[in-house]
Symmetry: C2
Amino acid sequence: MKADRKTRLARHVFAENLRRRRKELGLSQETFAALVGVHRTYVGAVERCEKNITLDNIERFAIALECSIGELLEEHDEG
Amino acid sequence: MKADRKTRLARHVFAENLRRRRKELGLSQETFAALVGVHRTYVGAVERCEKNITLDNIERFAIALECSIGELLEEHDEG
């Protein structure tokens, strides 16, 4: 797959996947934040696309969400 | 694929894929940096795993490398 400028911003795709996966695991933002070792407001900010998350944190999030980094950065169909 | 703590650090995987793909395209660090709009030393630092790159920059790198973000974050066999 070739990336092009028409694809949605990676930040948005990541935010959506994070929120979906966190809810699948039945975790609140607060519980998830504690699991990863970040502040609850940071998780909220990432889910609102306000924070430009770093690769080290993407990796920590993926480990806590028990999925691959790739899965968090790919677009998934809704519904 | 489930992420676990035995997999190599995402930073290393990204660095290796960046270097390989940049060379496939025949780009020097300097030319690539100019293409992306970052400083040459920044590209070198990312390739040496010294910088914790952000998602916005991962996306810009993927666009310049004409590949997906996923491809830059997956482990590839060598050789």
